[in-house]
Every structure is written in structure tokens, then in C-alpha cells.
């Protein structure tokens, strides 16, 4: 008789990993060095890929494997490499002081996580006791939290590159939501989205590069010529 994976176990694993992802995100909020935050992002993305794989395994949703692979390849491999290359080129390694100091930022991130749970709460249907619902309930909260914290990072950080990182981690949140809620979007859409993310990062990369060489500073809070 074939081995039937137990969804319950799967959920536990996934929830655990999701929590890990969240922790990483918060760690990224506190992180100063650019390169290390890139690394954190890579690990985070890798974990997401893993989550995707686990879901695919436990629910026999084969097409998610592709999503998982893509994630690992793109977000954990290619993009971090590109970004680090960029850092080399522009030659700025350290993030300067964020707008809001680190302890407070972390506190805020905690608050945002809470908000994520509050929002996710509104989706929870106790009457529907399928595994997916429970899973959705947990991971959605994490996803929203990821999203919000990523957003917060973008608001908070001064460097162009870290804003890009914020954007990427924010999209990780989306990815988590996508795979865990609905076991992935329709495949075409998935691929399209991945492609777009890739191009977006390339475009942003070009911009970062240009900004770097034009203003010889990556501090986007200095870009204030266009104003009323």
C-alpha cells in the first residue's frame, strides 16, 4: 500500500516554516548591512520554495513543484546574485540610519504581525474544518504580515537597494498567500507573475545603477528635486 502523506503533519511543518519566514522578515527589518539583508532575503525565498514543495508533496498538487523550483531558482538564486553584483558595482555596502530607529521598527513590525492575524481572523470559518481552511488561517496571517512588514521596510529605508529588497520580500508574502491558500494560481498566471517579478527587478536594478552613478549616493530620500 502506498504511503499516504498526512495533511495534518504537512500543515504543522508548513506553519512552522511560515513562522520561520516571518522571523527572518523581522530580522531583515533590524538588519543594517545591505549584503546580509540580501542573504536573509535569499534564505527566506528558499524557505518559501520549500513550503511550496511541501504543499505540493502533501496535496499531490504537482504543478506547484514548478512554482517551488522557480522560486528557489529565481528568488533564492538568481536575484540575490544580481543584487550582490549590483552592490559590488555601486560599491555601497552599509545601510545608513533608517528613518525610524531599529528597536521601534521591530516593535512596529510586531504590531503589523498582529494586524495580519486580526485580518486573517476575519476569514476563519470555524464551521469549515478542512485542513486547507486551517492552513489558510495560519499562513494567510503570516502572508499579510510579510506583506505589511515588507511595505514598512520600503517606507523606512533610505537606500534604493533596500527599498527593492522590501518590495521583493513583500512579494514573497504574496507568494506565500498564493500557494498556501489556493495551492498556487493557475500555472500560466504563475509563470507570468514570475516573469514580471524578474523584469521588475531588472528594471529596478537598472534604475538603482543609474541612480548610483548619477547621484553617487543611493540615498533616495535625497531625491527631492521634483516637488511643489
Amino acid at each position: 500500500m502506498p504511503f499516504v502523506p498526512n495533511p495534518e503533519l504537512g500543515n504543522r511543518i508548513i506553519t512552522l516554516m511560515a513562522a520561520l519566514v516571518l522571523v527572518l522578515q523581522i530580522a531583515a527589518v533590524g538588519q543594517r548591512g545591505i549584503v546580509s539583508s540580501i542573504r536573509i532575503f535569499a534564505v527566506q525565498s528558499f524557505l518559501l520554495g520549500a513550503i511550496a514543495a511541501v504543499i505540493a508533496y502533501f496535496n499531490q498538487a504537482s504543478h506547484i513543484y514548478i512554482a517551488a523550483l522557480l522560486t528557489v531558482f529565481l528568488k533564492a538564486g538568481l536575484l540575490p546574485r544580481l543584487l550582490e553584483r549590483l552592490v559590488e558595482k555601486v560599491g555601497i555596502r552599509r545601510e545608513i540610519e533608517p528613518l525610524i530607529n531599529v528597536p521601534l521598527s521591530i516593535l512596529i513590525s510586531g504590531g503589523l504581525t498582529l494586524l495580519g492575524y486580526v485580518v486573517a481572523e476575519s476569514f476563519y470559518h470555524p464551521e469549515e474544518t478542512s485542513a486547507r481552511a486551517a492552513l489558510g488561517h495560519n499562513t494567510l496571517a503570516v502572508a499579510i504580515a510579510l506583506f505589511l512588514i515588507g511595505f514598512f521596510v520600503m517606507v523606512n529605508r533610505r537606500k534604493a537597494l533596500t527599498q527593492v529588497l522590501g518590495l521583493l520580500s513583500l512579494e514573497n508574502g504574496l507568494f506565500l498567500a498564493a500557494i498556501s491558500l489556493t495551492y498556487g494560481m493557475p500555472l500560466v498566471v504563475e509563470i507570468g507573475i514570475f516573469f514580471d517579478v524578474l523584469v521588475a527587478v531588472l528594471v529596478l536594478g537598472i534604475l538603482v545603477f543609474r541612480i548610483g552613478e548619477t547621484f553617487d549616493s543611493m540615498d533616495v530620500s535625497k531625491l527631492r528635486k521634483l516637488r511643489e
Binding site: 494586524l115 485580518v119 499579510i144 517606507v155 530620500s221 516637488r227 511643489e228
Partner: protein, 681 residues
Amino acid sequence: MNMLSLSTGFALSVAAYAAGAFASLACWRRPALARRICCSAALAGAVLGGLTSVLGILRDTPVAWSVPSGIPLFAYSFSYDALAGFFNLALAIPVAAVSIYSFGYLKELEGKRNIGLFGFLFNLLLLSLTVVFTAANAFLFLIAWEVTALTAYGLVTFYHEDRETRRAGLLYVIMAHIDAGCLLLGFALLINSTGSAEFASFRPLAAVLNGGQQTAAFVLFFLGFAIKAGVIPFHIWLPAAHPVAPSNVSALLSGIVIKTGIYGMARIFLDVLGGVPSWAGLLVLIVGVVSAVLGVLYALMEHDLKRLLAYHSIENIGIILMGLGAALIFRVAGHPMLAAVALVAAMFHTLNHAIFKSLLFLGAGSVLHSTGTRNMEEMGGLIRPMPVTAFCFLIGAIAISGLPPLNGFVSEWLTYQTLLAGFGAISGLRRILFPLAGSMLALTGALAAACFVKAFGITFLALPRGAKSRNAHEAPRTMLIGMGWLTLACAALGLGVTWFLPAFDAMTEQLLGQRVSTHLVTAHGLVLSAGMPTSGTVSPLVIAVGLLVLMVPAALLVVLGVRRFGRKRGPVWDCGLPGLSEENEYTATAFSKALRMIFSVLYKPRREIQAVFDVSPYFPKEIHFESEIEPTFEKRLYAPLQEFIFRVSSRMRTIQAGSIHAYLAYIFVTLVLLLLFGVRK
């Protein structure tokens, strides 16, 4: 037959205007041709429109027809009833004069300005006015209304190189847009409650609307039309815009364009809404009184001839509103007869003002044309170089001062009678308002007379006050013909009023269900009576004849005396100074000095005198005198408002301070708030 000819006549006049507009625009490279096209098209349109309006005035039942429009949202539906006909007449008479006048007036602009553009805007203005008066559909009305405003704006800023002109034009078009906004809201309200934009569908409306809606509708429409009519306190654009326009345009603006406001009130309050609450009528009456008195008081302080005339437009609009307000009140109080008389008074004054104000502006135009200045202090003695203009202006002045036996007197007389009758007809303490309004009307009339003594005396009499007026010349013939035509109209409408009155019957019949001309005429059409038995009568014709007859013996006495004892021309008593010169002439500013001091509460006059003394402190070598009055409404009402708006705006601009973090933060906060909003059960 009649209705066919009517709609065709209307179509023809509209076509004439349209053709004139586009043809003159098309040949803007050939000014002379453009000028001829512009003026003759306008003339043709006016003649056709006038004839049509006669048909319309005499019809008892409105003619309605509808033209499919290219816009599926609505159709161009027209309704030509007596009211429309009357206003089209009030349009046609001055326009005929103005277009003849323009033949000569525009000649000097050839080569200097784009006459093709002028012709385009001018004819388009006339076209849109015609449509405003006949539109039977809210959309069409609003479109025509706004086209009127825009074309008028184009004409006002025709000399756009001048800064003052540009500012005046902007003020005008912005105020016009505000009133269009009010009308937009008002019509939206009506349309919402009936579901159709046709005026015809509004008719049963008074029943449909609840109290609040009625109040809202009245307020919105009143605001809209009052701004258009230049009623105080919404008048500030009028004395700014009318003077700076070319004079033939000023004539139309003051003569007929501001009357669209009056038309609107008559159309909406009497016809469409079928009556308004009586407090509304009282409001109209009071606003009218205020505009009349303040308008003439401000006019007295002007020594810019055209600004002076512009302020008199405000005054006369006030007088018209007195009649209209009375009509509204009577209608609610259930005195259709009185209401009809009041309406006749108001409408007749509308027509008269259209005529004599155009006449006066045309006169001012030819003065400006020959002296090149609007400042009365530089004029004087013009009656010798330009006698015909002077005569026409004098007639206009007598008419607008409401002096017998001309048309102004007749309509003011009717207004008086209406107000007096109001005292008897209305119950309660508020009826005291009517005689008081009457006395204020008297004050207005007397002040107007004073003002025009000044206007005519300083401009045309005595010695020239400057080189500009010293070598003035009479205006070209076409301009004189234009003025002469209006002069005739003034006299005819005054002396022949009793024969003109039946023209109001169809209108009062339709709006109030009363025909009054028979009540208003006694003694075989010789005498005008106030409608009520034994209430009061007057006969301009007899007065005129009587004056002439009584002057005969006086003339005989003088002639005999002169024949026997001779007459000679001698110098004026100059207190022994070496000859009378322009320096010791009386000035416009000096003329209004007494009133300026009496009403200083209102004017808050400011004057400064610097005297340069030479030898003795008694004989100053030269004196600089300047005096100005406070423009109360601009200073106390509009300037603060504008200032407030701009302060707020400048403060709000800081949200766009260029920081991307701020921008992201806006979105972030919005997101968080909306999430919380979204999850609340």
C-alpha cells in the same frame, strides 16, 4: 401657418447668425469683408428675429418643436412662447442698432485687430442668446447659457494685451462659471425629481417637490440668475468687465446679456416652478431695492464714463427685480391681476433698459471713438463737435433717469403703482415694505437724475477739459444711424406706450392667466392707468404735447424781448480772474463731492492733497488732489475669500514635498486603515 412661419423665422435668424459667425471667421484675412459680413449678418439675424418675435408675442399658445441632436442624451427642443418672443424682441431692437453702428465702429479696427474673430464671437453670442430665450430643455439651455458666457468672455478680452482687461475678463468668466454651476445643480435637482430634462416635464413640479427641495431649487436658481444679472452683492464683475469691452459689445452686454438673468427668473420662478414661496418673493424685492440704491450710489462716484453706465445697469436690474419680486409675492398671495401688472412693469423696464442702456453705451462708444478716453475729467464741450451724439445721449439720459415723457418714466411709474397697490393687497406688517421700497425707488430715480446731469454735463457741456476732447469729431454716419434708431425707440415706447401694452397680454396670460392691457388703458388709449379703478393715471403723450404748447407763450415772450432789446454773447463771470479757462471748470469729482460726504459711511472716501507753495501760503503753485472710495464688496467680501482659498491651497501643497518615503507612507497608512475597515464585521 403662423407656427410654421414662426419656427422658420427663428431658424432663419439663427442661420443668419451662424452664417455670419463662420463666414467672418473664414475670411479673417480680409478685414473689410469680414466686417461687412459680421455686421450685415447680425443685422439680418436681428431683423428676422424681431419679426419672428412679433409673431411669438402675439401668439396665445406656445409653439414647441424639437430638432434631433447628435448627442443621444437629449434633443434640441425649443418652445417659442410669448415670454421668449418678448425677450427676443428685447434682443432684436438693440442688436439691430448695434450692428448698424458696428459698420462704422469696427472700421478703425481694420488691420489692427482680427475682425474675423470678432465677427465670429459676436454672431455666436447673438446666436446663443437667441437659443437661451427659446430653449425648452435643460441641457440645451445650459449649453447656450455657457456659450453666451464664453463668447462674451472672448469679446470682453478682445483687447487682451491690456492687463486690466484680462483680469476683468477672468473675473467675468469665473463668476459666470459659478452661476452656471448653481444652475447645473438646480436643474439636476429638477431633472432628478421628474426624470426628464424637458421644461415641459417640469411644469407640474411645484406639487412634486417637498419644502426643502423647493427652497434648495429657489436658492440655487436665484444665485445663478442673480450672478448673471449682476445683482449686488454678486455684481463685482459687471463694472469691471463691461467698460473694457469694445463699446458696441458693452452695449449688448449691459443691454441684453445681463437680462438673461431676468429671463431665467421669469422662466423658472413664474413658468417652470409655477410660483415660489412668498418669503422668496420678498427676498427678490429687497435684493432689488438694495441693488438699485447701491448701484446708483456707486455710479455717482465714477468718472469713467463706461464704468458709470455699468453701475447704472446694476441699478436698473434692481428696479426690474422690484417689479418681479412684487409679481412673485402677488402671485402667491392670490392677486393674479396685480401680479400681471407687476410683471408688465418689470418686463417693460427690462425692454426699456435694454434700449436706453444700449443707446448710452453706443454714445459713450462714439465719444471714446473720437476722444480716445473714457475719463470724463478729460472731456467737456463735446456738444459742439458732436451734436448728434450729444442729442442722442441726452435723450438716453432723460430716459434712464425716469423722467417724463420717455419710456423710462413709464416703466418706473408702473413700478410705483405696483408697489402702492401692494400695500393694499398684502396683509400683515410686511406690507410696509412696499411703500418703503417705493420711496427708495424715488431716491434711486433722483440720484440717477443727478448722476446723468453729471455725466451729460461734464462730458458734453462747457469747455473742453483737455486736448483729447478739444479736437474731437462727430462719429461716422452709420454709428449715428444706430444711435438714432434707439433714440426713436425711447421716444416711441414712452409716448406710444398705450399702443404697445397689448404686446404683454399673451405673456401675462400664459404666466399668470390674466390679460391686463385693457385695464391699463383708458380714455380711448390716450391715458395709461394703473389697472385698478381710480388708482392713478398718466399720459406721456399729453404731457409731451402740453409741455410744447405751454412753451409757446414763453417762447413768444422771449422772442419779443429779444427782438426789442437784443441779445448778445458775453464772457462768463470769472470773478475778475484773467478769463475763464478749463482749470476753473467744475469737475465730475467735484460734482459728486456733496453726495460723497453725505454717504461717507458707505463710501469711506480717502483723499490726499499735496500743495506746492511758491511765494505765499495763500496761492499754491500747484495742487495734487486725489480721492478714491473704498470698493466695499471687493475689499470686505471677495478679497478675504480669495485670500483664504489661496492660503489653504499653499498649505496643502506641502503634501507633495517630493519625499518618496512620505508618498509610500500615505499608501501604507491608507492600506492599514482600509484593512481595519474591511475586517470590521
